[in-house]
Amino acid sequence: MKITVASGKGGTGKTLVAVNLALSVEADQVLDCDVEEPNVYIFLQPDKTTVKPVELLVPVIDEAKCTYCRKCAEFCQFNALFVVGETAMVFPELCHSCGGCKLICPVDAITEKPRSIGDIYLGEADGIELVYGKLNIGEALAVPVISAVKEEAKDEGLVILDSAPGSACPVVETVKDTDFCLMVTEPTPFGLHDLEIATEVVSQLGIPLGVVVNFAGIGDRGVYEFCSEKSIPILMEIPYNRRIAELYSDGIPFLKEMPEWRSKFQSLLEKIKEMTR
């Protein structure tokens, strides 16, 4: 079973939930799909990590063959090619690697070469396999790195995916083909606003979802009212607690110091299993 932990808003405790859930239920694998800011490894501290590059194929124009007909530049929807006069330029960081320009060039002036956009890392900690990706600084294309992380997913066993926050392409890429989405939110108007958008996206993908309210006790009742109106179950509440916050900032999963939470996360998993049955 694959469970995605997501959140509409950054900083709601998504990683906190993903890590403590994984440790409590002895998950087989954790995939950190927040490739712009991976942080699960800080808590799980895997050893012996192996690294694999993530590459995209980008065009190279052979100016000896190019007739500057501009067909490739007109074809490219991403403005990655610029042809004017006797100059043809490729802007690799804009290329989405669709391969179209190579097909369209009438004189076969275009070949492709790999370009590194990030890496994925594989390691193990506490009997859990951890896979995470890192998008190179300044790169805009998170999705290919996320799919490289997801390619490492085990077919069997319990896999927990930590998604990027928000509701854009990286979230869709992470959530799709998973069995359940756990949405972490905070009970404030900001939390509610982003939760509304994110749950809409996940519902459209047809993936069952439930909510974890973090920092319970602060804020207002908006999130609770929204969930009851939409029949989205609130599966767990984590109170606002100074000790939990301190452990988080020290990079320690709070479960390790507060073992009473183990059974709570275990029953969270049971509820999820019931909902996906």
């Binding site: 950054g10 712009e36 800011e37 530049a73 991403f78 403005n79 990655a80 610029f82 042809v83 004017v84 006069g85 100059t87 330029m89 802007f91 804009l94 300044g138 790169e139 805009a140 928000g166 854009a168």
Partner: protein, 129 residues
């Protein structure tokens, strides 16, 4: 000499748009006769590479210079390789900007004056900053 000004509208009294890639309109102006023509910028909605798309359009118009507020790194590279000069720091009406250009009061941009994604709102690169 044929120049292009990034503009918010289609007349000489429209304000200069400081964004090159994401201005709604390009005004093509003949500096001798001050005759002008408006062309809409088809790259305005591009998620990425609006500057390059805009540079491609400007190059097709056979302009010799571009007048705008700011220019990003990709657009600068594209325009320069097309042999188009770039003048930045223009503001006020298009008419005023052309006068400033003719009087040599605009600075020629030897490099990009802003980073990528200038004038684009929302998340993209560099979220959570």
């Amino acid at each position: 000499m044929k120049i292009v000004v990034s503009s918010t509208g289609s007349t000489m009294d429209s304000a200069v748009d400081p964004r090159f890639g994401r201005c709604p309109t390009f005004l093509i102006i003949d500096t001798e006769t001050m005759s002008h023509e408006a062309v809409s910028n088809t790259s305005i909605g591009s998620a990425h590479g609006a500057g390059i798309g805009a540079a491609q359009s400007v190059a097709k118009l056979n302009a010799k210079a571009v007048i705008t507020g700011n220019v990003g790194p990709n657009a600068h590279m594209a325009l320069s390789s097309a042999g188009i000069e770039i003048y930045t720091g223009a503001s006020g009406s298009v008419r005023n900007a052309v006068e400033m250009f003719k009087n040599g009061k605009l600075s020629k941009a030897g490099r990009a004056t802003v980073g990528g994604h200038f004038g684009q709102s929302g998340r993209g690169r560099g979220r959570r900053t």
